[in-house]
């Protein structure tokens, strides 16, 4: 499954990853890797484990078995000799600095203004001065097209605006890896385009490694370098977007794309 050229360390690597919720096994020995700077879209029916992969990468879920490596470093679990053990929180935080995430439900902090949402982590995690953090936040607000909402209250914004702020908030941490979890699914159809335009711009102007879970197939086709089709916690097909969307080989993929694209 590895597509990395020999000698380079992938940005993300899953090695025999298992994730169980109680008796239910969501990921069963999953292995794949993503080279630096690549944009990978995960598609597949709901419950196929796509979102779980992003949540594992964000340490929102604990592994059941296997390893996740970021830039070659064990991230949440490691082998100490033969013993499979959790990595201490302090080291997790070091690695986690390189990973950012945008959520389906935006999850802006309602007790803070737009600007405060964006500068909170850069100031207290990266240790930027307030001046630097504000400057960076203003640039990012410019980038997502909402400089005038700098001091607005998050609860006064529309869903699309909230999601654009959430993207700016994630980018403010200067992540090497950006996880996008169905970022347009909670939005009204007419504002989806605004959010996608922002993301397209991010994809074109940065070299951030991106992992996307989305139902926007047209968008996936435009921005991604590689598409992975999931079913029951396994990758059943992987291809470049052109091939995946025009000539899928696996019958499950054909079925799925037919249902989604109509």
């Amino acid at each position: 499954m590895t597509t990395t050229a020999p000698g380079t360390v992938p940005a993300i690597e899953f090695r025999d990853v298992v994730k169980r919720f109680g008796d239910h096994t969501v990921l069963d020995g999953l292995s794949f890797s993503v080279p630096r700077g690549q944009r990978v879209t995960l598609i597949g029916p709901s419950g196929s484990g796509k979102t779980t992969i992003l949540r594992l990468l964000m340490t929102l879920e604990e592994l059941s078995d296997g390893l996740i490596l970021i830039d070659g470093d064990p991230y949440t679990y490691e082998y100490l000799g033969q013993k499979w053990a959790p990595v201490p929180e302090k080291r997790r935080r070091e690695v986690r600095k390189r990973v950012g995430m945008v959520f389906q439900q935006f999850n802006l902090f309602p007790n803070m203004t737009v600007l405060e949402n964006i500068i909170e982590a850069p100031m207290h995690v990266l240790g930027l001065s307030k001046h630097e953090a504000v400057q960076r936040a203003e640039q990012l607000l410019e980038k997502v097209g909402m400089p005038e909402k700098r001091d607005a209250r998050c609860t006064d914004l529309s869903g699309g605006q909230q999601q654009r702020v959430a993207i700016a908030r994630a980018l403010a941490m200067d992540p090497e890896i950006l996880l996008l979890d169905e970022v347009t699914s909670a939005l009204d159809p007419e504002i989806v385009a605004d959010v996608l335009a922002v993301l397209r711009d991010v994809a074109q102007t940065t070299d951030i490694t991106m992992l996307l879970v989305t139902h926007e197939m047209q968008f996936a086709r435009e921005v991604s370098d590689r598409v992975l089709m999931f079913d029951h916690g396994r990758i059943i097909e992987e291809a470049d977007p052109e091939t995946m969307f025009t000539a899928p080989s696996h019958p499950r993929t054909q079925e799925f794309l037919k249902a989604v694209l109509g």
């Binding site: 929102l60 935080r93 990973v99 439900q105 935006f106 999850n107 309602p110 007790n111 998050c154 006064d156």
Partner: protein, 258 residues
């Protein structure tokens, strides 16, 4: 009757002192209770068993034994173990521990009602646990817990009347003294209870103001509370969280005069 009023006026300076003692007990107890509540409230929802277990036991212990027993136990029995406290400290400690145990359930329930996504977003931004709680979770939970804390504060004020029985010269003591010098039970007790009522009203008013302020910061509720809202006696119904509407905290029991 005018004699009574004269006696009352003569005793006004001492009323000031008595109210001060009652307020010291109430506010001292409330501050201690809040600290206890936050520690035990968070302790009760950690995943680590050796933190959660003791927290639960302490909460159930102080809820299950009576405030009266706790107060007199600290006053009479604790010295036998070598810890002798001043009467005022005994009152504050007893009130703080007892109501702190009740309030910890409120804290726990409110923390649980903050949408899960808020925790997740703060993990994604790599904020430390303490930072997450202090800057993201607690400010949101705070707005949810004030109405119920307001109820507990008034109950704590009522419980402080016990202090008279451990030699403190509080408002209850003052009322007894007033009755002694006027020999008029109805007059003296009506005045005493009215003063308690006014204090309770002032405390509730203060809590309503805090709540309106906390909600305004979350961008819910009116930007300025109406006069009627500020002056109402009972706390407002528990607001729902702004981002995702969640059911009111499962852990919060709204009843519970201890």
């Amino acid at each position: 009757m005018s004699d009574h009023v004269q006696t009352l006026l003569d005793r006004l300076p001492r009323l000031g002192e008595a109210v001060l003692v009652t307020l010291e007990l109430t506010l001292g107890g409330a501050v201690l209770a809040l600290v206890v509540a936050v520690v035990l409230g968070f302790g009760s929802r950690t995943r680590t068993l050796w933190v959660r277990g003791p927290s639960r036991v302490i909460v159930e212990f102080f809820r299950g034994t009576s405030l009266v027993v706790q107060l007199f136990w600290i006053y009479y029995v604790l010295p036998a173990f070598g810890y002798e406290l001043e009467a005022l400290a005994v009152g504050i400690v007893a009130l703080g521990l007892n109501y702190g145990a009740y309030a910890s359930e409120v804290v726990r329930g409110s923390i649980e009602s903050v949408p899960q996504g808020q925790w997740e977003a703060s993990v994604a931004l790599n904020l430390s646990w303490f930072h997450r709680v202090r800057r993201v979770i607690f400010p949101q939970a705070w707005a949810l817990m004030i109405p119920m804390l307001s109820n507990l504060l008034v109950q704590l004020l009522k419980g402080s009347a016990l202090a008279y029985y451990i030699t403190l010269h509080d408002l209850n003591f003052w009322t007894v003294q007033l009755r002694r010098s006027t020999s008029d039970t109805v007059f003296s007790y009506t005045v005493g209870l009215l003063v308690y009522f006014v204090i309770a009203y002032a405390l509730t008013w203060f809590m309503n103001w805090l709540e309106a302020r906390a909600k305004r910061r979350l961008g819910i509720g009116p930007q300025r509370p109406s006069l009627r809202e500020t002056l109402r006696l009972e706390p407002a119904p528990v607001p729902t969280a702004p981002t995702a509407p969640t059911a009111p905290a499962a852990g919060v029991r709204t009843g519970g005069a201890p």
